[in-house]
Amino acid sequence: MEPPEESKLGLEEAEEIVLRWDSTTSEEARDNMIFGGDRLEVDRYLNAVDRIQRSMSSVSISDDQAKVNSAIQIAMARLEDEFRNILLIHTTPIEADSLSDPSSSTHSAATSSGGAASADFEDDPDEDKDEEEILRRGDSSNSVSYRSTSSIREIDLIPSDAVIDLGSIAERMISAGYLRECIQVYGSVRKSAVDSSFRKLGIEKLSIGDIQRLEWDQLETKIRRWIRAAKVCIRIVFASEKKLCEQIFEGLGTAIDDACFMETVKGPAIQLFNFAEAISISRRSPEKLFKILDLHDALMDLIPDIDAVFESKSSESIRIQAAEILSRLAEAARGILSEFENAVLREPSRVPVPGGTIHPLTRYVMNYISLISDYKQTLNELIVSKPSAGSRYSGDPTTPDMEFAELEGKTPLALHLIWIIVILQFNLDGKSKHYKDASLVHLFMMNNVHYIVQKVKGSPELREMIGDDYLKKMTGKFRLAATNYQRATWVRVLYCLRDEGLHVSGSFSSGVSKSALRERFKTFNAMFEEVHRTQAMWLVPDSQLREELRISVSEKLIPAYRSFLGRFRNHIESGRHPENYIKYSVEDLENAVLDFFEGLPVSQHLRRRSQ
């Protein structure tokens, strides 16, 4: 940059110009700025500085040298102030609508309408998901460069004429050996600009202790906010700062723009990552899994941008820290899954669920693994080892057996999901034993395994991972439970309606023991009433299953009763008080069966048969 007419400027004249602007001696100099005033004065001053600089080498007499040095120092002090001032004037906090997520084109409309100064980031999880999908679909080997060029958005933080002025000043300061001062001034002003951008983005300074103390649902909100803010920080704020350094210090050496950049952003970058780090080391518990996966995915998405923005050697520590946090988040996810499995296995509640219905554990676990299947893309990458299940031959009664060799070709994640279902059933099995009534044991298992099957069928991802083979197994299991239930309840009831033991002699029409017959009827009535009263209170939540079960019961009960009635009613009706023995018509029983498994109490009295 050649100022015009520079060779005509004498050394003394130059010194005089510099001295005129010495703010320690001139009040006028103190109250005014060179840059921002008359452009001619600017040029004149810079010329003067250059002139003096050039004379540094040629001046030999020590007195003159001292004068020159003194003048240089005065000029540099002045230029430092000018530099600072230009930076300060143009340090306005980043506009709210510049602060929208660069990877989403529709986003800027949403945030700028949301309110001017404080960027209030609304939660929009669906949109997040879409963005993530779009970004993930690219082939991972190509997508690095694709992502970083499309998602980084540098904005001009300072107007270009100011940038040029700053560059001119920097050039002089550096060639006079005042590089350190230059870096310090630059860093201190820009750093506070970054700090105020951070505040606008809602990035908080929280200690690890603070984060440990917060409730998880508060943290979830903060994580969501952090994810949005981090994208903006790295892709816009830091990238723009980097560009600004490059612009100002263009041609003055790359180490310098790098040093200024690091001076500006190192502290804020560490502050940004500290939050994610604190989350990654928080205590593990199952409900944290999905937000941690969100955080992991967001960070993984940002890594190429982080690597691009912090590519220099001096910013290595930041890249390393980001990678460390990512790996810790992955570990946390794995650990949580492991802990979840443990929790399911050991869940200790012994209070039986009334009515044999679906246990809350079953609902929780099935919802959880449904969500897991939503995150399967990430989890498939993170979960690489099989669950360590008991082997068939372990004989350990506290853990179920599972032979994974049978499940060929399944991803480790799928194996884990199957394992979770296995241990869920194992746990439920243990719980079922707390029911006093053996029928209820089976009903409970039937209900719960059926629920599991329905949930798996209801989710395509889950179904694909669990596989139809295992699904078939479980279906067989709940059908068996249904059969076992029927056996447990109805065998003894139907036993009352058997032929044997009623005939005194071998013939049909006569020789029926009336007393035995009366006993039979009485016993049947009592048993049925009890079963009816009890099992009306039981619950089979699934309507189809409930119907099927009732029909199955009816199919055995009704024909048996009908035939029994048909054969033996005359014998009762020919005696005294037949109504004490034949209490119910076939229709009555059919109606009574409709009460079963509704989960509601019935009155003690069934409708008597109409005479």
Binding site: S23, T24, R30, M33, Q65, A66, K67, N69, S70, A71, I72, Q73, I74, A77, D81, R84, N85, L88, I89, T91, Y178, R180, E181, Q184, S188, S192, E204, K205, S207, I208, G209, G267, I270, Q271, I281, R283, R284, S285, P286, E287, S317, R328, E331, E339, E341, N342, A343, P348, S349, L361, R363, Y364, V365, P387, S388, A389, G390, S394, D396, T399
Partner: protein, 408 residues
């Protein structure tokens, strides 16, 4: 196969010793040896640190002695951190490897281990604060380097002296951050960055320059959450730090106590040395019973450092870091020279100044060499500690209690 085999694959990583069937007795003896060895190692290592810190920071700062290992120098701090890492590794092996997980949850460990973990989490915040503090120290280093560069030129003229003076004033202001008189005041904090006219001045108005530098220092370097205090954090860490007594003192309770003491001591020393957020009121003592043999070196170090800290509180210096103390002493001296400078200066004076500048340059060089590695080491400590904590938590969660019952 025992039940532990099936609980999670992470246990498989830990040790093959689990599979060995050892007699109770043999195990017990082995255990005692391990505990004693740990204790001895801790004592030895800190003894090393004590003897290598040949002089107090003040002594060596007052001389031009370049014994780079002096107490609370960068090199010494790095040794301290190395020591910590060694102790930590041994402790982890002691606690986790080759032990039945249930041992870790029996009384009194069921209380002591979570307390240690809590201390350790607090230590992580201290690590972060100290890392910021090291950045602050680098800032001071850079200011000193300006002075070195200025006063290294020949001949020394008004220009160079003014330049040096400006940098040195900033340096001194930055270091006076904790001056309780408040002249490096709290009122300056927000003023610094008002937009508009020139806020700073050149070498002349040193008052406002000082304020600005202090405010700048504070807002830029502290970096921790508002209200966070290093002094309070260390204080909290030393809560409940009580030597196990009676029948508690056998078994693992003692190593846990030892490790706790080591953690607290190391963090305390770091905070004493490196300027970080809010150190006023840093306690100069935490209770370590003097009769404990292994603790003697630590107590010795504590005494030395505490003495220095008390002196500091009287004089209002910033940070016991040996290099910072040098910077301060030399900075003050050179500022005096600069204040009274008339060109040309006497040869004798110039010689004196040259010597001081050389010492300053050497100190800056050591800082340049050592501060970044120091930060990396602090990071390593952070990692190791996190890892150990995770593994201990896994062991604890294994043992019986389900960490959370699934909620609906």
């Amino acid at each position: 196969m025992r039940a532990t085999e099936n609980q999670g694959s992470f246990l498989n990583r830990i040790s093959i010793r689990r599979n060995q069937v050892v007699s109770m007795e043999g195990n017990h003896e082995q255990e005692l040896d391990d505990l004693e060895i740990f204790q001895k190692h801790v004592a030895d290592r800190f003894s090393n640190l004590l003897s290598s810190s040949s002089s107090s920071p003040e002594e060596s700062a007052a001389t031009a002695a370049t014994s780079s290992d002096s107490l609370l120098s960068i090199a010494w701090l790095r040794k301290l951190l190395d020591t910590f890492l060694c102790c930590e590794a041994e402790f982890k092996a002691l606690l986790i490897i080759g032990r039945e997980p249930s041992q870790v949850s029996k009384p009194p460990l069921d209380r002591l281990v979570p307390e240690l973990l809590d201390r350790v989490v607090k230590a992580l915040d201290v690590c972060n604060a100290v890392t910021h503090g090291v950045d602050a120290v680098r800032h001071c280093q850079k200011l000193a380097e300006i002075a070195v560069s200025a006063l290294g030129q020949r001949p020394i003229g008004d220009g160079q002296v003014r330049r040096a003076k400006k940098a040195l004033n900033s340096l001194i202001a930055a270091m006076a951050i904790e001056d309780r008189d408040g002249s490096a005041g709290s009122k300056g904090t927000e003023r610094a960055w008002s937009f508009g006219r020139r806020g700073s001045s050149a070498a002349g108005a040193s008052g406002s320059n000082k304020d600005q530098a202090t405010a700048q220092f504070r807002s830029m370097w502290w970096g921790m959450a508002k209200g966070w205090s290093a002094a309070k954090q260390v204080q909290a860490m030393s809560a409940n730090l009580v030597a196990p007594r009676g029948n508690e003192s056998s078994g693992l309770a003692h190593p846990v106590y030892i490790m706790s003491t080591v953690v607290v001591f190391v963090m305390w020393a770091l905070v004493a040395a490196i300027p970080c957020q809010e150190r006023t009121g840093l306690a100069t003592h935490f209770q370590v019973p003097r009769q404990l043999g292994w603790a003697q070196p630590i107590i010795g170090l504590q005494d030395k450092i505490a003495e220095e800290w008390k002196k500091k509180e009287k004089k209002g210096t910033a940070g016991l870091l040996e290099e910072m103390q040098r910077l301060e002493r030399l900075g003050q001296s050179l500022v005096e020279f600069a204040d009274s400078f008339r060109f040309p200066a006497e040869a004798e004076k110039l010689e004196e100044v040259a010597a001081q500048v050389a010492e300053l340059a050497e100190t800056c060089r050591r800082m340049e060499e050592g501060l970044v590695p120091l930060q990396q080491q602090i990071r390593e400590v952070f990692h190791k500690v996190v890892r150990t904590r995770t593994e201990v938590l896994e062991v604890l969660d294994q043992v019986g209690k389900v960490s959370s019952t699934p909620t609906m």
